[in-house]
Amino acid sequence: MTDEGPRSIAPADGTAADTQGIKIVGFLCNWCSYGGADTAGVCRFKQPTDLRVVRIPCTGRMDPLFIAKSLIYGVDGVLVSGCHPRDCHYAVGNFYARRRMEAFKAFLPFMGIDTRRFKYTWVSASEGQQWQKVVTEFSEQIHELGPNPGVRRQTGENSKVSTGLR
């Protein structure tokens, strides 16, 4: 990610994204979901074009802060996908990931960030069809939510929210 933030990410083939300019970042594990997405491509399943894929070695590598950074700077959606539980290439990576992502998902709204912009799922390398379904549904959900303004950049506005902190 550059200093300009994820807004500067453009599709590698130089085509414009879609009309709304929606950008979704997908973190896919090398062994299952990346393969699943590949299968979907090889089978020529129609898929939404607003997903940018980042390949990770395993969902165990998935730092929830990748999601935080993306959403704070205005990425519209983050999709994490790995091997099904008990099917992890490294046996337990996705078990660690599941706890972290569940905790993170519960934490996000406390900071004012909509959890609907983040989803994690399990897709195996042979499940091209499942992948198509997951991406399409998530993309539709993000389109419904519209662009993510992220955290505002300008400073100096005072909040009107009173929380009654002790």
């Binding site: 660690y96 706890r99 406390f110 955290v151």
Partner: protein, 325 residues
């Protein structure tokens, strides 16, 4: 009562000092009300030691921050004495649990705590620049600012963390000074009251709240430096160039990301001692961010940090049966 406890502390430290490298405790600061950490190596310094509601600092950070001590004592090295309140003792448990310290490395002077004063709150009632003296009489704080004598109920000016404190008595200690204290809170609900209040607001208001609170953040990192469990020293990813998580930009997104990093790195480890919030010069409720994660850990995984030296922090392990935690 404070006087008796103080004398007892002095006596116990005096007895133990020959076997110890030093004793870390609280002493009177140069102004007449705050305390400052003191490092007692010499019997002559013992009289500086004090205890009571002004002793707000969590001293356990000194055991692991630079100049850091060795976790395991070298051959013949003497243990280090340290004074802890209930909340501070949980930091010790966590540090021992994560092997930054061995239990033998420390001699713990446990001090049951009745709450510590938040001077920011007192400062809103009294002009702190003119304070002549400040004392505590039972549950009243008496502050003389050379014009008038203010009598303030202690209960109104405690640190925010104290109102939800379930463990005012040290959980790990070698000696105890004074009588056990009664916990202010005994339930999850009362401990996380502030979290629930913010959670009750609509999503946009929460974002608005944090945008405006964190806008004040000057990224001085005092909160991180004060945290006894932020132990990465010069490897902290907040300042590292490779990987480069944060830039020097001063926008709110950078501040958000900083606080996300701080909070996520403490998820399942934070004991809620409130040091980050106490250290913050901008009066930002920094601990509140971690309180939410603590609540998630407690409600969903039944885990509270700093209670058991044998336990494994929940995000460092898993259960194959987890679905939605």
């Amino acid at each position: 009562m404070l006087e008796t406890d103080r004398n007892q502390l002095h006596k116990l430290v005096e007895e133990a000092l020959p076997e110890l490298d030093m004793v870390i405790g609280w002493g009177q600061s140069t102004d007449s009300f705050q305390t400052t950490p003191v490092f007692v190596r010499d019997a002559k310094q013992i009289s500086q030691l004090t205890l009571g509601p002004f002793c707000s600092q969590n001293l356990t950070g000194y055991l692991v921050k630079p100049p850091a001590l060795d976790a395991a004592p070298k051959e013949g090295a003497k243990p280090i004495g340290i004074c802890v309140k209930g909340c501070d003792s949980r930091s010790l448990v966590a540090l021992i649990q994560e092997k930054f310290l061995t239990r033998e490395r420390v001699r713990i002077f446990g001090i049951p705590c009745r709450g510590t004063v938040d001077w920011n709150k007192v400062g809103k009632l009294v002009d702190l620049s003119n304070v002549k003296s400040a004392t505590v009489e039972e549950d009243v704080l008496v502050v003389d600012d050379s014009q008038t004598t203010h009598r303030i109920k202690l209960e109104e000016v405690l640190a925010r963390k104290c109102y939800g404190c379930r463990y005012p008595n040290p959980l790990i200690q070698d000696v105890t000074i004074g009588e056990p204290a009664t916990p202010r809170s005994t339930s999850i609900e009362s401990s996380y009251r502030d979290v629930d209040r913010l959670d009750a607001k609509p999503l946009e208001e929460r974002l608005d709240f944090w945008q405006s609170e964190l806008d004040r953040c000057i990224r001085c990192y005092a909160c991180r430096n004060a945290c006894p469990l932020c132990v990465c020293q010069d490897k902290c990813i907040i300042e590292s160039r490779e990987p480069r998580w944060l830039t020097q930009r001063v926008g709110i997104p950078e501040k958000f990301l900083f606080h996300f990093i701080h909070a996520m790195h403490l998820a399942g480890r934070c004991t809620g001692c409130g040091e980050c919030e106490r250290a913050c010069p901008m009066d930002i409720p920094v601990t509140l961010i971690k309180e939410k994660l603590n609540k998630i850990m407690e409600e969903r995984l039944g885990y509270s940090a700093g209670l058991d030296v044998e336990a494994v922090p929940p995000l460092l392990t898993f259960n194959p049966g987890d679905t939605e935690i």
